[in-house]
């Protein structure tokens, strides 16, 4: 997890986020399979006899044969698989640190952490291991803390045994009787606040024979955060108890910060590899609909337990619960992790990326299809910049250059998926906007195209097109003016300026489709 802290990097971050939102759009389209794909009849795989792990009764595998110090990792890294086949005494030492860290660009939050980051250190042990857990509460802490591991068999899960004042340490020992992926969290009063501040992590208790081998493993943990200020409101943002009680999250995040799994921080893998995600949800309130856009989970250890479900699109991860998912990568590109309770992804930060390198597999995925309905989503644009531009224009203060800038951001979120980032379109499918004779012949005609859509045959730069463009009903007058001003001033078009008033006039003479903006 890295955070941008200087101006230039921050700007890169914003641009990259726009790119992300775009790719999110494109990726989330849920394209119909290309017509050329052969329809194969899939017979359900033979589940075989359902294996019973025996639960905790089968968990004790004898006394420890050796002693070792656990390897602990920060997300998204996961400690290496356990290769030994005998029980061990595993020493785990976690330091609780209260720290002010970025939660988003230019926004800081006072996190309470198991090990300095959110989520806390990933602990990996084997079923039957005896775990000696030492919890150190850093002297600079203001609060007492403790740890309740869901993997523990015993009252409180270790909470009472590890209740620790600042500058002190506690220790307790437990035997990991049940295999599975378990959440741990702080359980000091007020519990909700300790969890809301990021005090959670995962402990994996591997089955005695280990998990099936995969190529890469990652640690992803969701949490919801409640700040006094709005989403992305700059500066230090204190915890808001009232919002937390009302379950009105300001942020819903993977790995404790916006952007912790984006761009340079994206998870990386290659075509042909099998990736396993250890997914946790710290809560405190929200249940996650965990989904990877463009992939299907081949296997899901539902709720982090023993039995495997196959071919799952979205898996529910309870607050204080987990899931293990894996999937094989066939097609290169960027895959987006979301909480498919989708406003959380678009408006509260619940997005991450897996960047997959490798050779194209056109037979699996052609890369062409898009769904224009989703393109109507206003949220894809850089809402802040456009809003500013809108209000400035409304006050009559927007120059042509400002309109172009605002329109550029809108274009990237709204038009470029079909017309292309450089306005070149796609021959025979989507007409070009760059150097377009159709556009330059009558720029104001384009106002009507955006308001009402366009269908039927048109000829652009000598090419014939017969596609359907839906009305951009979600755009308001200012936005359409800015968008078109950007387009007519780009890629060799003839220039000029479209005003909000022109759009308004045209709209007044146009029956408005249901659901249109303003």
């Amino acid at each position: 997890m890295t955070f941008v802290d200087d101006e230039s990097q921050a700007r890169v971050g914003v641009g990259a986020r726009r790119t992300l939102l775009l790719s999110l759009l494109v990726a989330s389209v849920g394209c119909p399979a290309p017509a050329s794909t052969t329809a194969t009849t899939l017979s359900p795989p033979d589940p075989g006899p359902v294996r019973d792990s025996g639960g905790s009764a089968a968990g004790g595998l004898g006394p420890p044969q050796l002693e070792e110090v656990a390897i602990l990792t920060d997300a998204p890294l996961v400690p290496p698989p356990i290769t030994r086949r005998v029980p061990a005494k595993v020493k785990v030492e976690i330091e609780v640190i209260e720290a002010e860290l970025p939660i988003s660009d230019g926004v800081s939050y006072s996190f309470w952490t198991f090990g300095g980051k959110v989520p806390g250190k990933f602990i990996r042990v084997r079923q039957g291991d005896t775990v000696e857990l030492k919890l150190l509460n850093h002297p600079s802490s203001k609060m007492p803390h403790n740890i309740d591991l869901h993997a523990v068999t015993g009252p409180g899960g270790g909470a009472a045994s590890t209740f620790t004042a600042p500058g002190h340490g506690s220790q307790f020992t437990f035997q990991a009787l049940n295999q599975g992926l378990y959440v741990y969290h702080c359980a000091t009063a007020p519990v909700g606040m300790h969890v809301a501040n990021g005090m959670y992590g995962l402990i994996l208790v591997e089955p005695p024979e280990g998990l099936p081998k995969v190529d890469r493993e990652f640690y992803v943990m969701q949490g919801d955060f409640y700040t006094v200020g709005k989403y992305r409101e700059k500066g230090h943002q204190p915890f808001d108890m009232q919002k937390a009680i009302e379950e009105n999250a300001t942020y819903v995040l993977f790995n404790g910060a916006e952007g912790s799994l984006l761009d340079n921080n994206a998870l990386k893998a290659a075509v042909g590899e099998r990736v396993r995600l250890f997914v946790g949800n710290g809560g405190p309130n929200l249940v996650s609909s965990f989904h990877v856009i463009g992939e299907v989970f081949d296997h899901v250890w539902t709720e982090g337990g023993t039995h495997v479900q196959e071919n799952v699109q979205t898996t529910l991860v309870p607050a204080g619960g987990s899931a293990i998912v894996d999937f094989k990568l066939e097609v290169p590109g960027t895959y987006i992790l979301v909480d498919h309770s989708i406003f959380r992804a678009f408006n509260k930060g619940a997005v991450g990326m897996i960047k997959v390198s490798g050779a194209e597999r056109k037979d699996v995925y052609s890369g062409k299809e898009v769904d224009s309905v989703y393109l109507a989503d206003k949220a894809a644009s850089d809402a802040g910049a456009i809003q500013r531009a809108s209000s400035a224009l409304g006050a009559g203060t927007l120059t042509r250059e400002q309109q172009v800038e605002a329109g550029r951001a809108l274009f990237a979120g709204t038009c470029s998926a079909c017309h292309g980032g450089e306005g070149k379109g796609l021959p025979g499918v989507f007409p070009p906007l760059a150097g377009s004779d159709f556009l330059n012949a009558d720029p104001s005609r384009a106002i009507g195209v955006l308001l009402n859509g366009l269908s039927g045959k048109v000829s652009v730069n000598g090419g014939a097109y017969d596609s359907v463009m839906p009305p951009m009903s979600q755009l308001n007058d200012d936005e359409i003016a800015n968008l078109l001003t950007f387009v007519v001033n780009s890629w060799g078009n003839s220039g000029g300026q479209i005003s909000s008033a022109q759009v308004k006039e045209r709209r007044s003479g146009t029956p408005r489709p249901a659901g249109a903006a303003r």
Binding site: S140, K142, A160, A189, M193
Partner: protein, 242 residues
């Protein structure tokens, strides 16, 4: 030397104000509700200078002589020497890294005592305008904000305006020792009380106005009398003579 220290002690002797009587406000698992009578409370936290004077008068409380029975190894660990805070810390800032025993011995040497939790909570419930501001959202938010933030280096007292009783810095500077810090039964994880402070905790404090008091209870519960913490100081109280 002794006379000199005595003068310092007198000069630094903080003003006290009368608090109460008032209702029991510490209801978050605190002692049974007993109304608080009138008592005197220091306006300011005990400063490093105050405590240096005490240590000068009572060498058995110097960090190099204090008994392990009464202090842990962090006792006054941020001082430059066993006798004085030194140049690196603000001498007028509240003294911290003192055990409950040491705080109590200090107050006793001034003819005072530590306040009880009920007394402290009564004094701390007041804002600058109200005797009981615990339902005032901005008052509560400011307290919770401080609880939520990592500690900043301690500077001189008087960082906050005196509250309605005339007491300063009850919130936003350090935690404070109270005489009955050990009233909460959390040591036994199997008892009902222990449970109440852990997972069942939210149930009894659904009103966010109670969260600040609830967090103080949790904090006090984690303490042992020998502990010396960087964010834990104290002030003294005194009975009002009849």
């Amino acid at each position: 030397m002794l006379a000199f220290l005595l003068i310092i002690a007198l000069a630094a002797s903080p003003e006290m104000v009368t608090i109460g009587p008032g209702p029991a406000v510490a209801k978050n698992g605190g002692p049974v509700d007993v109304d608080v009578g009138r008592f005197l409370l220091d306006v300011d936290l005990v400063s490093r200078t105050d405590f240096a004077a005490f240590v000068g008068d009572h060498p058995l409380w110097r960090r190099d002589r204090a008994r392990a029975l009464f202090v842990d190894e962090r006792y006054l660990a941020d001082w430059a020497s066993a006798r004085a805070p030194g140049e690196d810390v603000d001498p007028a800032a509240p003294v911290t890294l003192v055990s409950w025993f040491a705080a109590r011995a200090y107050c006793s040497a001034q003819g005072k005592r530590l306040p009880t939790s009920a007394e402290w909570e009564l004094a701390a419930a007041a804002s600058t305008t109200k005797k009981d501001a615990r339902a005032d959202p901005s008052f509560v938010a400011a307290i919770l904000d401080w609880y939520g933030r990592p500690p900043a280096p301690l500077r001189a007292n008087h960082r906050t305006q005196a509250n309605l009783w005339g007491v300063r810095d009850l919130h936003g500077v350090v935690w404070e020792w109270v005489e009955d810090f050990n009233f909460a039964l959390v040591k036994d994880g199997r008892s009902g009380d222990g449970g109440a402070l852990f997972c069942g905790a939210g149930a009894s404090a659904a009103d966010p106005a109670d969260y600040a008091g609830f967090m103080r209870l949790a904090f006090r519960s984690s303490l042992e009398a020998r502990f010396a913490l960087p964010v834990l100081g104290f002030r003294c109280a005194k009975d009002v003579l009849p």
